[in-house]
């Protein structure tokens, strides 16, 4: 099992560009999450999903979009990148709700200049 995979590992974007961060899991988990972590800060929830076709906003959703067409994949879309979106992005999945262990991907380090 690969667990949770994320691509790319690193990316540099220019202001105004768009990109999609990919996340996939092979554990058949229904619940998936996107977090961002700014330097010296804790992880903050961007979006989450409880199953294919169902997504909802987290604490910091502005500037992002998500979709969940399959159980395995949960891509995060950045439209019109801004310097404030420079961060490390983590995808996670869990078998069920918050009380269950979350399995994290390795992260994507994004710089917007």
């Amino acid at each position: 099992n690969a667990g949770v995979t994320q691509t790319p590992k690193f990316r540099i974007l220019k202001i105004g560009q768009s990109m999609t961060l990919q996340c996939a899991q092979d554990m058949n988990h229904n619940y998936m999450y996107w977090y961002r972590q700014d330097p010296g800060m804790g992880l903050k929830l961007i979006y989450y999903s409880v199953g294919a076709g169902i997504t909802d906003k987290g604490e910091v959703p502005n500037g992002y979009n998500v979709s969940r067409s399959t159980t395995e994949d949960f891509p995060l879309r950045l439209e019109l990148a801004a310097p404030s979106q420079t961060s490390v992005y983590f995808c996670a999945s869990s078998y069920s709700g918050t009380a269950y262990e979350q399995y994290f991907g390795p992260g994507t380090r994004l710089t917007v200049t």
Binding site: Y33, Y35, G42, G97, T98, E101, Y103, G107
Partner: protein, 111 residues
């Protein structure tokens, strides 16, 4: 709003000494609390959760609702314990709206 506070950004102790990483939370309901750890060049992973009341790698954590704390303790630190430790809070009732994380404590165990 829920909040998690880890007051120590950095904690350095000698091998064999006791370790205590502090975590305080703010939440009006009954919390689900976790400690996650990130070792160097590894991904974030669960260390332990309050509901299981178990000891993992010699670490324990007790939920104190009166003091709204969930401190992580180990009686004798080992060099392999060096890592970033994050306290995290989830809503009770099995909700799916993710975890609220503290800023983390960088634990360094000196030989």
């Amino acid at each position: 709003a829920q909040r998690v506070t880890q007051p120590e950004k950095l904690l350095s102790v000698f091998k064999g000494a006791p370790v205590e990483l502090k975590c305080n939370y703010s939440y009006s309901g009954s919390p689900e609390l976790f400690w996650y750890v990130q070792y160097s060049r590894q991904r974030l992973q669960l260390l332990l959760r309050h509901i299981s009341r178990e000891s993992i790698k010699g670490f324990t954590a007790d939920l104190n609702k009166g003091e709204t704390s969930f401190h992580l303790k180990k009686p004798f630190a080992q060099e392999e314990d060096s890592a970033m430790y994050y306290c995290a809070l989830g809503r009770s009732g099995g909700g799916a709206d993710g975890l609220t994380f503290g800023k983390g404590t960088h634990l360094i165990i000196q030989p």
